[in-house]
Every structure is written in structure tokens, then in C-alpha cells.
């Protein structure tokens, strides 16, 4: 009897500590990913978004923008749309926060109006693409709970596989699995699982470039396994160290954006 109690306790403790260990290691790796990307300051880029429907037909959208790291909080970013022609000059300014809703303003150039919009529909599609708003906003560790799964090769690269569960109830996903490069802690692939825990989409980063000590992927490809649509983001003209300040993320700079 006593042996049984001891055995049960030991086994339970063993399982619990494995779980805690998995969570701790998951968070530890997530922090290493964040640290590898810390201190990039500010950057600007151009972006071509190509949407492909199930018949293989393509549509493109062009935009450009810049972003800035904020100490102790999420990034600030400005995006200006270039094509299609009817939305040219429309701009969006977002202040991401580690906890709570993001702040987002939209500039409508036809009437020179700055409008602060509600930011809770993060699960909705960005410009009709396969990227949801939450897929594109700055990825803060505090928005998820983390769990280390295993080490494995993904697309020929040695990776740590991590599971992360979004804390936001409004998220469109039940969980993600991210594959993190063992060498340099950059994210290589993310699998997105919908609320029914079925594999919904896969995001693959490729054409990596080193800017100083920061890795950036020139290409991000999102494939939706359920509707057979794809969206490809192609970054170009990426610049770092452009010396942005809070003044570049103000109502006036939003109105001036071109």
C-alpha cells in the first residue's frame, strides 16, 4: 500500500515536472528567439503581396512601410498602400502592446481623415489574403503560453519544435507549432491549427538575409490547406538603422505618409 502511494507520487511528480520542464524549455527557447531579434531599432521596407486562389489565378498588392522597436512594449508600425490604385495612399499606423488591444489608426486620403478603428478583429484576413491580422502583428512572447515539443529536422534544417497557445480568446487559432532554427534561433516554419484543432495553414520563411546580426526572410509564404489558397509576401528594399523616433509615428506623420 505504502509502496503504491510512493510509486504514484513519484510517477505524478515525474509527469508534472516533465510538463513544467517542457513549458520552461519552451519559454526559454522563445526568449532566445526574441533576444536574437532584440535591438534592431527601426527598419523600412517595400512589400509585394501575391494572392493565389485555388485555380492558380494571381492578384498582387503593393505596399511599403516602416517600423520601430519600443522599449518594454510591442512595435510601432506604419504601412502605406500603393496598389490597387483605388486604395493608393491609404495608410495604417499600429501601436502593438504586449497585453491588451493594439491601437490602430487608418488614414483615408480622399477626405484627409484619420480614423481610430477598433482593433479586436485580429482573426480577420488582411486585405483579403491568407494572412490574418494576428499573423502579421509583432509577435510578443507574453501573448502565448509556450511548450517545448521535440528537436527535429524541418525542410532540411535542425530545429526545435515549440507549441504556442494564444492567450487572446478572440484568436482564430487553438494553437500553433513553430520550428525554430537551432543555430540562430530564427523561425523557419509555423503551423496554424484552427479552433477545431485541424491544421489550417502553414507559414514558411525563406530567402533569409543577414542585416548586421539580424536575420530577415525576404519571402513569407502562407498556404491554407483547407481552401487551397496561398499568399506570398515578398520584401524588398529592406533598410535598417534609419533613425526613426516617436515623431515618425504621430497623427501628423500619418497624414503626411505617401
Amino acid at each position: 500500500m505504502k509502496a503504491r502511494i510512493i510509486l504514484t507520487t513519484v510517477v505524478t511528480l515525474g509527469i508534472l515536472s516533465t510538463a513544467v520542464f517542457a513549458q520552461d524549455k519552451g519559454l526559454e527557447i522563445a526568449k532566445k528567439v526574441e533576444a536574437a531579434d532584440d535591438g534592431w531599432g527601426s527598419s523600412s521596407n517595400k512589400l509585394t503581396m501575391t494572392l493565389k486562389n485555388r485555380h492558380g489565378q494571381k492578384t498582387t498588392r503593393q505596399m511599403h512601410g516602416y517600423s520601430m522597436e519600443v522599449d518594454g512594449d510591442g512595435d510601432k508600425s506604419m504601412t502605406v498602400f500603393d496598389t490597387p490604385a483605388d486604395v493608393k495612399g491609404t495608410a495604417s499606423m499600429t501601436f502593438t502592446h504586449k497585453t491588451g488591444n493594439d491601437d490602430q489608426w487608418l488614414y483615408l486620403p480622399a477626405i484627409q481623415r484619420v480614423k481610430r478603428i477598433s482593433s479586436s478583429s485580429k482573426s480577420g484576413p488582411f486585405m483579403g489574403s491568407e494572412f490574418a491580422f494576428e499573423d502579421l502583428s509583432s509577435q510578443e512572447i507574453e501573448k502565448y503560453t509556450w511548450k517545448y515539443l521535440r528537436d527535429e529536422k524541418k525542410n532540411g534544417v535542425d530545429c526545435h519544435a515549440l507549441e504556442r497557445v494564444p492567450l487572446d480568446k478572440n484568436s482564430g487559432y487553438k494553437r500553433h507549432i513553430t520550428w525554430v532554427n537551432k543555430d540562430n534561433y530564427r523561425v523557419e516554419v509555423v503551423d496554424y491549427y484552427d479552433r477545431k484543432n485541424t491544421l489550417l495553414k502553414t507559414l514558411t520563411f525563406s530567402e533569409f538575409r543577414l542585416y548586421g546580426k539580424y536575420w530577415r526572410a525576404d519571402v513569407m509564404e502562407m498556404i491554407n490547406h483547407q481552401n487551397n489558397k496561398e499568399t506570398r509576401l515578398q520584401f524588398s528594399d529592406v533598410k535598417f538603422g534609419i533613425g526613426l523616433t516617436d515623431e515618425d509615428f504621430s497623427q501628423n506623420s500619418l497624414k503626411r505618409s505617401k
Binding site: 492578384t59 489608426w105 481610430r116 478603428i117 538603422g241 497623427q251 501628423n252 503626411r256
Partner: protein
Amino acid sequence: MRKLSIISIGVGLSLITQIGFAQPAGQSGGDAAEPVKKKPWRSELSGEIEAAYKYFPDEALYASQKEAYFATTFRPKYYLESDKGKHAFIFEGFATLDQYDNKRSHVDVRELYYRYVFKSFEVSLGAKKIYWGVIESNHLVDVINQADVLEGFDPENKLGQPMLHLSVAPKWGTLDLMIMPYFRELKFPGLPSRGRPDFLGLSLGDARYEAEAEEYNPDIALRWSHSFGVFDIGVSNFYGTSRLPQLKFDPLTWELYPYYETINQSGLDLQASTGPMLWKTEMMYRIPKDTARDPITAFVLGGEYTFGNLFRSGVDLGLLVEYSYDDRPLIESFNGLTNDMFFAARLALNDVQSTEFLGGVMIGMLNQADKTSGVFSGSKIFNVAASRRLGASWKLTVDLLAYNCIDEGEIFLNFLRNDSNVKIGLAKFF
């Protein structure tokens, strides 16, 4: 000897220049400064051309009003901007050609100004369009620009306003100062295009002003605005010629004329953005310079709730409710929104072709004729709009405007009661 020293100075200078400008391109990461390079100015010409067809199903009230007509509108835009945006020249033009109505066909310069930016300080000189406010159905605080009513009753169509505009943005908000040296009159369309009272057959005379300098009276506006936490706030003050005229009758010339009084108008606009819910208000307090006239208080309270990604379909549904109050008697208020409720819904499909639907109704809470009041007692104005991108650079819009149950007590709306219409527009963007 002299030649040698000149050469050596030249070589020395060029060497110093090379060393001074050569910097590692971001090798250490972070915010290391980029080498200084002179970059060319950027410029772009863009705009849209729209062809529209408007049809009026009800019989016209006045003889020269048409049943249907075509119109075409051209909106070119051009800007020239220096490398970091320090200097900029901005132009936005406008031209409408109406099939029958000569008074409605018009050309305007919406914007033509030079802008200088230095850190958080900005100055603009020229004609400009300024937008203030957060409410959708009744723009109380948006006083700077004259409305272009030749394009309809939506005050978002604006005439360019010449001004000197100074703007500074310290940590505690943004301060805007506008000095406007020239006033733009409200121009009424002719009768053929409808949407206009016939003024009882009287002709419309020249505008008269309370200000001695008339249209050259310098008007001045000041505004403080700030975003903090969930709030966006703006507090403004305008002193000068009111953009909205009163219509007065001159028995000597037997004509109606627009009279522009001098006013001091204070405004407040405030929005609280809490997740899917936006709480909005605009308030206005206007003191006419003529002390014989009463001050005017008006406010709008509103809310907008967005169901984002409805049932995970990607569709966004927004619901709006706004209440407008104005303490003036109905006959004196220009837009007749003295006690009115506005309900609207906005549906965005978020598809590749950006299909959108918008439906709204403005309801007078008080029936002016029989004085019964209630949420659905008075006149109703319905508006339904749909838009969709065609191909890569075309856009199709359909707009329905319906005047419903206009009670006889509504002074202004009575003239418009048969002017319900549907407008189909096809625009090409470049």
C-alpha cells in the same frame, strides 16, 4: 610650387571627405547612421475619373428638373516631395461636368500648398483640406472647409481652403493654428440636377457678410488634439465667418441672398476605443458676434460596434447609432438635425475585390407637423451604398437615397421630398 600646393589641398580634401562619409553599412546592427547621400525628390501623378448616372423615380416638383442625367468627374492628384519629406508640394484638383446643369459643372482646386517639416514642426501655405471629427452622420466640429454642395449634401466633399497652417506636436498632443485669408462661398446647384429647393421661384442674389472685409476677412482657428490610452480628443476654436449662410429676403431687390455672419465656435470631439466598441461624441457651442442672436449648442452622441470576422467568414459587420441634438428651431438649422436618430450598418466582405455595403437611416424624432414625438415619428432619409473593385483599377459604386415620410412640417426637406434617387458610378483609378 603653387600648383603643387593646390593639388595637395585638393587631394587632402577629397581624402577627408571619403573618410568622413565612409561608414560601415549597419554591421553592428541597431541605429548606426547611414552614409549621407543626396537622393532625388519623389513625385507622383495619380487620380480618378468617374462616370455616373443618376435616376429619379419620383415626379419632379419643379419644371426644369430632370428625370435622369449623366455626369463625369475628374480628380487628379500630384505631389513633389524631397528625400526625407522636408519639403513638399501637393496638388489635388477637381472637375465635374453635368449633362444639363451648368451651375453644377465646376472646377475647383481642392489642395495646392507647400509644406515644410522640421522634426515635430510643420507649416503649410496654400489651399488645403482639413478634417476634424469622429461622428459619421453629422459633422459638427468640421468647420474649416466650405462644403461643396454641388456634389451633394455630404460635407465630406470640400472646397479647398486657402490658409497658413502651423502644426507642432510636443509630447502632450498636437497644436494646429490656421489663418485663413480668403472665404469660399457656398454655391448652390441649378434646378435641373435636383436635390435643391427652388426658393419659391425667387432668384438668389449675391452673398452679404457681417464682416466688413467680406470674403477677405481673416478667419482664425486653433485646435489641440491628443491620443492617450483609449482616447482620441480634439478641442477647437474658430473665429471668423461662418461657412454656413442664413438665407434672407431683401424686399428692395425681391431676392433671396445668403448672409454670412461672424461667429466664435468652440468644438469638442472625443472617441474612446475599447476593443470592438467605439464611443464617440462631438459638441459645438457657437456664439454669433451679433449679440442680438442667441448662442447655439449642439451635440452628437454615438457608438459603433464591430463584429470582426463574423462566424469566421472573414466578413466584418459594423453597427452604428448616433443621436443629434441642436437647440435651434428647425428653420434656423442648416441641416435640420435638431433631434434626430441615425442608425447604420457597414458590411465589409474583406474579399479580394473589397466588396462593401453600407446602409443607414436618419430619422427625425419629432414630427414637425403634428408634434408627436418618438423614435420613428418623423421624416426618414434612407441611404444604401455598395461598392466593389472591378479588375485592378476600376470601381463600381451604387448609391440609393430615399426620402420617406417627409412630414409637412419639415421646412427644408419638403423641397427635396420627390428627389429620391439611385446613382450608379464607374470610376477608373490611375
